[in-house]
Structure formats: structure tokens, C-alpha cells
């Protein structure tokens, strides 16, 4: 982020141009349908939040440098060049008003994957020095301290001791040869210690070996949110090094959407090689344990429960069925929202928006979409699987004076773990 300049930004953007981008820009007919797919537009009515409009400077650079008519226009001096002022004006559109949720990519009639391009556009924005302060801060902390929120190993160890006292179970740090390497998000360490308690109990009950690395316990990746691939790669590499050093079979991404995206889908591409281990989201692991019969559950919740799909996990990450399989086993009154699964609506705070104070007011407006969805079905409890969604949902519900508890799915399942005494004789 040091030495940022317009030229560096444009160069970074040029490096992002590829065949899909050219196919997408070539195909856009400006029909405007992506606006209706974007909660920042639907909840504010501001046309600037139309997804394709958020890409306008990138589109012009593409047109002027990668198409014949654009080059001719440029040579004749008829093309308006992309300027620093313009990029600065686009900052709120690209960072505050986009959670990288990808709903636009699902709706576009010509098939444009708009969020694929916004992710790329952020590389140019960051290199040109137009990333928001909040995200720069988070990214700097992530590089220096290992955590975007400045959570240290000591803080995690203190929490682990608490959990050990509470559960009477050991939390294994740096155990070589464990099956699972469990990662955390800073948000969980600070706000939701129940997650660590839940997996400790679940893994113990399932009889699986697991560990936490004291060298790389943070799963989140500010690098992909701000759009600096070098930093994103460095953060992924820390996890890769730890996982390979401990020779684990599977790295478990915590209840966090973009951490999963960073490790599972972007990770190998960022570091330039495939991994010697698998990356799974905690819900994928839990669903496997359920199928293997290692996750004996008892009791059912009787309130009307629904599931909020974290975008990076579901629509962009492909973990669609596991949360449903799991929730159905413990929620007698599980109801889906009207748009759910891959067509879900974002909570309004993903993609770095929650780390960006400039977007605070806007993200609470964007939450109104979720509010209406919850009201439509009369939900009494909201389950999710992303700490970042969870804190936004809690804040949004509170701001709207709605008394709906928000629960992490892993924690809900841990609450329903069958007591060990009843285990004998169970076969399912």
C-alpha cells in the first residue's frame, strides 16, 4: 500500500484483465437488472449502487486498451482517461457499497460474473491508493500481528484456558499429525468464545484428533477484501506453512464466509500451488461427522428457526446443503427465507464492509433487506455460520428493535450433543 499511485493502480488493473473480464464487458447491454439484485440499490434507491456502474472506470480502461474501437478513440483523443479523482469518487461504490456477495452475478441475463470483476477492480483501487482507511488498518494489523483485529496468541491462549476449565477438555496446541487443524477468526476469539467451546466438545465427542497452531490460528484474510493479492498470498502462506509443518489432513475454516473463500478457493491460486491438505469449512466437517454417525445429537429446538446463508460460503463457496442437513436434525421448526441458498440476500457487511467505518451507516440500511426477509416468515431465531454476518445481524436486529436471537450453527449443534453415556448401542 506504500508507494500507491494512479499508474501503479492502472498497471495492477491491467494485470487483472483476462478472457472472462473481456467477455463480460463485451456482453453488458446496460439493461440495469443487476441493480435489483443488489441490496445496496434496493435498500437506498441510489442508482450509483448499480453493480455494473461500480465497474465503470475498469470498463473504460478495458475498452480503451483492449478493444479496437476504444484504441481508435484513445488515439484520436476522444477517450476520457481514468483519473485519480475518478477512482477516489468510486471508492465508496467499490468498498462501502459492495460486500462481494455475488447476487448480481447470479441474475445478470448475459451471464456476467460482476463480483469476479469487482474483486479484481479492488486490486487496482488498492494499488492506486484508494482503499478505505478501515480496511488499510485491518490489513496492516493482519500482516504485523497476524490478526485484522490485533488479536494476539496470548488472547487466544487465555480464551482456550477458559474453555478448558469450562468443558474439562484439553485444547491441543501444535499437535503434529492431528487430523484437523482448526483455524479461528478474530471475531470469534473476541466476541464468540462459544465457538471454540463448541468444537472442543464436538471433536472430543466424535473422537477426532485436532489441533490449533500457535503460528497460524487466524483464518480471515484482509488481503482479499482490500484487493492486495501479495498480502492475501502471504496470509494464506502462513496457514499453509503451519498445516504442512503439523502434517494435518484437513484445515478447518471457521464460521466465517470469506476466510473459507480465501483458503478454499483463492488460496492455491494466490500462493501458486495446490496444497498437500484439504480445506473444509467447519459445516462441511460437521456434516461429514453426522453422516459417519460421529455426531450424535439429541433434543430439538421448538422455536421457528431460519438460516442466514453467508454469501462466500454458500453462493460463492458451494456449501449449500450441509447447513440445512445439520439444522434439520436439531430444529423441528426450520423454515427457509423466501430467497435462500444460492439466491440469499447478504447481511450487508461482508467483503470488508464491516471493517470499513465509512460504510457503517450504509450497511445498517442494507440490513433492511434481511429485516424484511425475517419478518416475512416470522422467524423467532436466526442461525448462521459466519461470525461477521452474525455481528452485523445482531447489530441490525438491535437497531431495528427486533428481538430475535442469532446463533452460530456449530454452537447450536454442540448444545444438542447427546450425552456420552447414551452413546453405547447407537448405530446411526
Amino acid at each position: 500500500m506504500s508507494g500507491a499511485s494512479l499508474e501503479r493502480g492502472l498497471q495492477a488493473l491491467r494485470e487483472q484483465m483476462d478472457t472472462p473480464v473481456a467477455a463480460f464487458f463485451s456482453s453488458c447491454v446496460h439493461c440495469g437488472l443487476c441493480a435489483e439484485a443488489c441490496l445496496f440499490y434496493t435498500e437506498t434507491g441510489d442508482p450509483r449502487y448499480t453493480p455494473i456502474h461500480k465497474l465503470e472506470p475498469m470498463r473504460r480502461l478495458w475498452e480503451q486498451e483492449y478493444t479496437l474501437p476504444g484504441r481508435l478513440k484513445k488515439a484520436l483523443g476522444l477517450a476520457r482517461p481514468v483519473t485519480d479523482e475518478e477512482l477516489e469518487a468510486w471508492r465508496p461504490l467499490v468498498y462501502d457499497a459492495c460486500t462481494l456477495c455475488g447476487r448480481c452475478s447470479l441474475v445478470c441475463p448475459v451471464g456476467n460474473d460482476l463480483v469476479y470483476m469487482i474483486r479484481k477492480f479492488r486490486e487496482g483501487m488498492a494499488a492506486a491508493g484508494h482503499a478505505p482507511e478501515g480496511l488499510i488498518g485491518a490489513t496492516t494489523r493482519a500482516v504485523k500481528t497476524g490478526s485484522p483485529m490485533g488479536v494476539t496468541l496470548k488472547a487466544l491462549q487465555a480464551q482456550a484456558r477458559h474453555v478448558e476449565q469450562e468443558t474439562g477438555l484439553e485444547i491441543p496446541f501444535d499437535r503434529e499429525g492431528a487430523e484437523y487443524l482448526v483455524l479461528m477468526s478474530s471475531m470469534e476469539v473476541i466476541n464468540y468464545p462459544e465457538y471454540l467451546a463448541a468444537i472442543t466438545r464436538i471433536f472430543h465427542r466424535a473422537g477426532k484428533s485436532w489441533t490449533i497452531s500457535s503460528e497460524a490460528f487466524e483464518a480471515t484474510n484482509s488481503g482479499i477484501q482490500i484487493g492486495v493479492s501479495d498480502i492475501a498470498a502471504e496470509l494464506v502462506q502462513r496457514v499453509v506453512d503451519a498445516a504442512e509443518k503439523l502434517k494435518v489432513k484437513t484445515v478447518v475454516s471457521p464460521e466465517c464466509g470469506h476466510a473459507y473463500m480465501a483458503l478454499r478457493w483463492e488460496g492455491p491460486n494466490l500462493v501458486g500451488r495446490s496444497f498437500g491438505f484439504e480445506v473444509k469449512h467447519i459445516l462441511e466437517v460437521l456434516d461429514e461427522l453426522r453422516r459417519e454417525g460421529c455426531l450424535p445429537l439429541e433434543g430439538q429446538e421448538t422455536v421457528r428457526m431460519t438460516f442466514h446463508d453467508p454469501c462466500q460460503l454458500v453462493r460463492r463457496g458451494g456449501v449449500v446443503e450441509p447447513p440445512r442437513n445439520l439444522l434439520r436434525t436439531v430444529a423441528a421448526e426450520f423454515v427457509e427465507m423466501n430467497d435462500h441458498g444460492t439466491t440469499n440476500w447478504c447481511c450487508g457487511a461482508g467483503g470488508g464492509v464491516s471493517a470499513n467505518e465509512e460504510a457503517d451507516e450504509l450497511r445498517l440500511k442494507a440490513f433492511h433487506r434481511k429485516k424484511r426477509q425475517l419478518e416475512e416468515i416470522g422467524a423467532e431465531a436466526l442461525v448462521t455460520a459466519c461470525a461477521n454476518c452474525r455481528i452485523q445481524l445482531e447489530e441490525g436486529l438491535e437497531a431495528n428493535e427486533m428481538e430475535i436471537p442469532v446463533i452460530g450453527l456449530t454452537e447450536l449443534l454442540a448444545d444438542h450433543l447427546a450425552a456420552a453415556e447414551q452413546e453405547s448401542g447407537e448405530s446411526s
Partner: protein, 220 residues
């Protein structure tokens, strides 16, 4: 130059020129897109993405999202009406089928002319409604560029002049036919260099979208 001479030029050298520019332009367009290349995905995939890619190519012709169908019913209806009318007029009108047959050796059944006539009217009305929509809704006013209006005009005039020629409206038939053919040739010439080429590139766009999502286990 009189009408007969213009018609002769439009049918002969004009057509060849237009088709030539169209073909050259499309090759260039595809090269501009494909030569950029794409980095190989190193993340282990859930599926090859090929099936999902083809399904997205097909499925995106039908709106799958209930919310946007509800909020943008007009764009959907007018969009379908215009596209279907335009495609029918181009590819299913008897004289056009004969022309394609003469140019390529391929023929296919045509629709009865009165049906094409009706579809043309529907397409013209839809196009006018879509233009009105573009000029009056804040989102479209913001995102529309000169090219959007150019593409509109290039699509509208062949339909309008074709309709007028078919009904022998107001002008001498030879003039109308010559102008109709020239307007279609203009459409061909501009096609590769404007967003009219979406008619071809959207298959690539849908493919990449569907394939990349499919590799992650999502049908987009």
C-alpha cells in the same frame, strides 16, 4: 443514382462488403477476448464445471430470480418480446431464409409472413418502450452510454424499414427495399465493434460464469 442502382449495389457489393467487415470484426473481437487468456485454477474443484457451464448458457435465457422478475417485470417482458420478434424477423422470414440459403447453402423452415409481420410490430413497440424506459429510469440514465443508443438505432431501423417495405408504406418500394437492406448491412458492419456483439459474446460470458461457479459446486 436511382433506386434500382442503389438496390443493385446493396444486394451485390454492399452485401459482400458488410459481410466481410462483419466476419473480420468478429474474428478480431473473439481474438481480443480469447488472447487475454485466463490463469489456470489450482484449487481442487468439486466438479469440472463443464455441465454447469452449459446449463448456465441455457438457463440464463430464462430469469430464475423471482425477486428481480417481480421488480423488473417490464424489462423482462419487453426484452423477451423484442428479442423474439427481432430473431423471428431476421431468421424466420421467407425471403431472409432464402437469402441465408443462397449465402450459406443452409435452409430451414420459415414462419408464415403475417406471423413475422405481427412479431415485427411487437418488436418495434417493445424497442420503443425500452428506449422510453432507458430515457426515464434513473438507473438506466446513469449507466447508458452513446453506444446503447447507437445499438438501439441500429436494431430499430432494419425492423422499421422492413416493416414499411413489406406493407409498401409511403415510399417507392425499390427505395424502401434498398434502404432496408442498407440498414441491415449497417447493423452487420457495426455489430462486432459495438455491444451488439453481446449476441455472440454472451455465450462466453455465461459459460465462464457457470463453469467457475460449477467448479465450486454452485449452479449459477
Amino acid at each position: 443514382m436511382d433506386a434500382a442502382e442503389l438496390l443493385l449495389w446493396a444486394r451485390g457489393p454492399g452485401l459482400l462488403l458488410a459481410v466481410g467487415i462483419f466476419l473480420f470484426g468478429m474474428l478480431l473481437k473473439l481474438a481480443e477476448i480469447l488472447l487475454l487468456g485466463r490463469e489456470r485454477n489450482l484449487a481442487p474443484v468439486r466438479a469440472s464445471g463443464v455441465g454447469a457451464g452449459f446449463r448456465t448458457v441455457f438457463r440464463r435465457s430464462f430469469s430464475m430470480d423471482r425477486s428481480s422478475l417481480k421488480t423488473s417485470l417490464f424489462v423482462h417482458l419487453a426484452g423477451y418480446a423484442f428479442h423474439l420478434g427481432l430473431l423471428a424477423a431476421i431468421f424466420l422470414y421467407t425471403p431472409h431464409v432464402q437469402l441465408f440459403g443462397a449465402l450459406t447453402g443452409l435452409t430451414w423452415p420459415a414462419l408464415p409472413s403475417p406471423v413475422v409481420d405481427l412479431l415485427t410490430v411487437i418488436a418495434l413497440v417493445s424497442l420503443m418502450a425500452l428506449l422510453w424506459h432507458r430515457l426515464t429510469t434513473p438507473v438506466l440514465r446513469l449507466i447508458s452510454t452513446g453506444q446503447d443508443y447507437l445499438a438501439w438505432a441500429l436494431s430499430f431501423f432494419p425492423l422499421l424499414t422492413g416493416y414499411m417495405a413489406y406493407h409498401h408504406l409511403w415510399f417507392d418500394y425499390d427505395w424502401l427495399l434498398a434502404i432496408h437492406i442498407l440498414s441491415a448491412e449497417l447493423l452487420l458492419v457495426f455489430f462486432p465493434f459495438t455491444k451488439l456483439s453481446h449476441a455472440v459474446t454472451l455465450f462466453m460470458a455465461r459459460w465462464y460464469n457457470g463453469m467457475m461457479a460449477g467448479q465450486r459446486g454452485v449452479q449459477s
